[in-house]
Each structure stands twice: as C-alpha cells, then as structure tokens.
Amino acid sequence: MFWQKDIETISRKALEALQLKRLKQTVRQAWTNVPFYRDYFSKLSIKPKDITSLKAMQKLPLTTREDLRLNYPFGMLAVTKEQVVRLHTSSGTTGKPKAIFFSKKDVDRAADLIARCLIMTGVKKDDVLQNMMTYGLFTGALVMHYGAEKVGVLVIPAGPGNTKRQIALMQDFKTTTLHLTPSYALYLASVMHNEGLDPKKDFFLRRAYLGSEPYSEETRNKIEKFFGIDVYNSYGLSEMNGPGVAFECMEKDGMHLWEDNFIMEIIDPETGDKLPEGEKGELVLTTLCREAMPILRYRTRDIAMIIPGKCKCGRTHRRISRIIGRSDDMIIIRGVNIFPQQIERVLMGIKAVAQNYQIVLEAYDQMTVRVEISKDLFDGRVEHLVNLQNEITEKLRSEILVKPKVELLEPGTLPVSEGKSTRVIDKRTL
C-alpha cells in the first residue's frame, strides 16, 4: 500500500531530475533569504547559478549543528515570522539549543512523509496508534501525531512514562500500533511480564515504530517475539523535521529515505569526502522542500550507509542502514540527549572528586559514571564515601534527568583522557 504512489515509486531518473530542480530552488532560497548562507557562499565564491547538477552540490558548504546554534533563534529563518506556525527546539543541553521552524506547508509536508511511513507498514484507518514519545519541544511525538491524524487513525497522545496507565490505555482502546523508543519498549515488556500479562493474548498489538535511539537487530527480534508484533525502524532528527525522514517498509531491510524531500550523502567524517553506496560514513542531508528553514548539507553526526540495490516493495527511494554510531560525543540515553560536558560540569563542582571520570553505557541504557576520588580529601570513612556517592548521583540526576550508577574509583585508575571520546565507553549492544 502507498500513500503517494506516484512519488514513492518514481523512476530514479525522474527522481533525480526532481531533486535537481528542488535543489536549485532551495539553494536560491537560502542565498536570497538567509544571511548566514549568503555569507558562506560568498566566502567560497559560489553563486546559486553554479549549482547546475546534483554533483555540483558538493561545492556547497556543510552546515553543522554549531552553525544552527550560532544562528539561534531566528538566524536560519528564510521566511518572515508571520509565515511560521510552529517551533521545535533540539535539545541544546550545552549552551544554546537549535531552533527549528515550520511553516504551515512544512507541517503538512512532514505529516505526508509520516503518512507514507504508516501506510507503507500496513496501517489502516481503523488502527489505533499509541504515541509514547515526548510531546513538546521535541519533534518525536508531534510530527508523528500529525501524520497519523492525516492518515485517519485514532491517535492516543499518551507521551512516555506512567507504564501502568499505558497498559490500561492499550487494553481499553485496543491499541494496535506503538511509537516509542527501544529502551522504553524493553521496559514496557518487563512491566507486562511482571504483571503476568501476555502481550499476544491480552492486547491487540500489531506493530511498533522504534526510533530516537540506536538499537540492534537482536533487540528488534526480542521485542517482536515478546509482543508478537512487527517492529519497524524509524529515523529522523529535529533539524530535518523529526521522524519520517527514513523509515522501514515491510521488508524490514533498511529505511527508505524520502529522496524527493531530502538529498542524502554519506561522507567521511574526517575528510568530508563523499563515500560510495555501501560504505559507512556520516549521513549528510539537504532539505528540498522546506519553506521556513532550508538547510544545506547538514552534518547529522549519525554514522550509517546507503544500502545498494532495489527494494522488493517497489519504492525507488534508496535505503539507509541502521544508525551504527555517532561521530560526536553526544549520548542518547532513554531518549534523552546528554553531553559528557554536562556530567563533567557536575563532577567538577564537587570537591571530593578528582579530575578524571568515565561514562560507561551498557545494555538497557544503563549508565555508569566512574569517578576518581580526591586523595587529599579521603579520611578513611566509608560513610563519607557513601554520602559522596549519593551526592554525585543526585546532582547528576537533576542535571541530566537520568539516574546513573556512580562508581568511586581510586585516583589514577582511569586512562588519562586525550579527548572527549575516551570519556564515553558505549557497550550498548542495542
């Protein structure tokens, strides 16, 4: 089933022609209306007319997260404030956030992309979608919500948490479709299990959309088996509308990235060179249809690859693999974005803590913060150390909104960190 069959199954040739046409428009729009891009272009001596082919777009500068931050709040806007109808921000936990604006048309287009995803995975009007993502500044829930309404399904805007109520809603309203993070799905499974519920018998579930955190095929299988459902991988980021950028079809073999709305490139995160299909690198996206906020060659920091070959489902939009990692130091845990600098800030504000620390992420989003204690302040008292441990845990929880396990270490046990990367050890096999 298709939502927009013509465009979803468009020939590659026609798709590329459409991309080029839209790219030219986008470049001109950015150059004309966004001073940041105009300056950037002049620095590189590029004019919109130089973009004569899709290949030529590699002349264009890359846009980084930092660029969006520096232009916060209105700097990236390509339309007047009267034309925007919605603001989302992307968790800018260090310093300024990123502001993402939507015009009325942008909201509608984002909803269409979600509608494609839902129909692609077999959703019908009589389905009931329980949306367990966070509503608010985060794009995850609202963008899905609008798309689902567009299809005509009943949406339950449950938001995350309050698991017992979630379960009651699922039973009372015969929820068929879930939208949630993989870690919350695992948690939900454990709660159902403890309550003696069998998701296959006591519920009406058919499918779940899992996104906003990386997870593995094993986790998908586990969740599918426990709930007796199909799990589809979902990819998106606020800077590119949120969810609905790329989504799995029923083949579950990579996520179709909607290439009529975005141009994707995979680059080497070190050199910036474009990599061929099948090679892992950083995903770079260019918006093609956005009115309020066109973004050119945006470095997502997500590491993935383009899957070569056609998909059996008939869609011609190429697929990307699961997100294999991130090329920066941001941690996503239980759906929350955390920067190691936040943890550093808390730790360095506590006297009895020495300079070195390490963040270890393990399965089921367990986070352990390993902290070296200060030699000078050690007085031999276990009680004082326990208090210190509790103080660190509590201060971290209130800063990052996730309660980590805190381990106290002897000074000098951790490797001396040369960069931020060694501070974070991600052992998650999700």
Binding site: I373, K375, F378, D379, G380, R381, V382, E383, L385, V386, Q389, E407, L408, L409, E410, P411, G412, T413
Partner: protein, 147 residues
C-alpha cells in the same frame, strides 16, 4: 591514654587489591596487627593496625594509594563472656557512636582490644578518661614501637 593510629586505604572492590596493598607492607617489613575491610556499593575501605604505622603510611602514599591516618580508641576486652558487653555498655552510656569497630588480638589471645573508630576522638577520650577501662599501650604491646 596512648595514641593508636589506624591506616585506612580506599580501594575498588575487585580482585587483587588487597594483595597489592599487603605487598607494600610485606616489603617494608611492616607487621599487621589487625585488619578490617568495609565495603559498600563497589568500593571498600581497608583498615589496618600495624606496628610501624608512620612508615607504612608514608610508603603506601608514595606508591600512590589513597590512604589516610587517624587515631582510634583501643579498649581492652576481658577474655570472658560479657567482656564486650561491658565495653559496649560504657560506650552507650557516654553516647559515643561507633563508626566502625574491630578486634585486635595480641600475644596469642592473651590480650584483645576493641578498636573503635569514632566521629570525634578527642571528645570520646575525654568522656572515657575516668572510666574503669584499660586502653592499648603501644610501648608495652608492640615491640618496635613507632606508633
């Protein structure tokens, strides 16, 4: 009341830590008179009463251990039923809270002392000064006295 000091060493709770610490003491010819290990949430504090306390402290520090030195009460226990009860009663009456306690035995059970780690050692000493308690006398009980 002679001073008795205890060495406390911070240690992660993992195999081999005690070995590393005691190796230093063995190499320096330090004799361990009593040991106590308290662990909590993945870490531990190992406490020693040794004959050459200052030396042990300095050497452990040099080797990079996280170590501290503090005075403890060492109250003699009478070797018969009720021995500890008497001491505990006394501490209770004086409202001295025990942070940590363990036993030091000398001369093949000839003498036993309750090592008591308290919050305020000076206050505790004052409170117990006139009580009928016998305390550890370093020069008598430890041959090479450096305590």
């Amino acid at each position: 009341m002679k001073q008795l000091k205890q060495i406390s060493i911070f240690s992660e709770n993992k195999p081999g830590r005690l070995k590393k610490i005691t190796k230093v003491l063995a190499e320096e010819g330090v004799n361990i008179l009593a040991i106590n290990i308290a662990s909590s949430n993945g870490f531990g504090v190992i406490k020693f009463i040794v004959d050459k306390c200052e030396l042990a402290y300095q050497k452990l520090k040099q080797k990079g251990f996280t170590v501290s030195l503090n005075e403890v009460l060492a109250i003699e226990l009478v070797d018969r039923p009720g021995g500890l009860f008497e001491v505990a009663t006394m501490l209770s009456e004086k409202k001295i809270n025990i942070e940590n306690a363990y036993v030091l035995i000398l001369g093949s059970r000839k003498k036993a002392f309750l090592i008591v780690d308290v919050d305020d050692i000076e206050k505790a000493k004052k409170l117990l000064k006139h009580e009928n308690l016998r305390f550890f006398k370093a020069h008598k009980n430890v041959k090479r006295e450096t305590v």
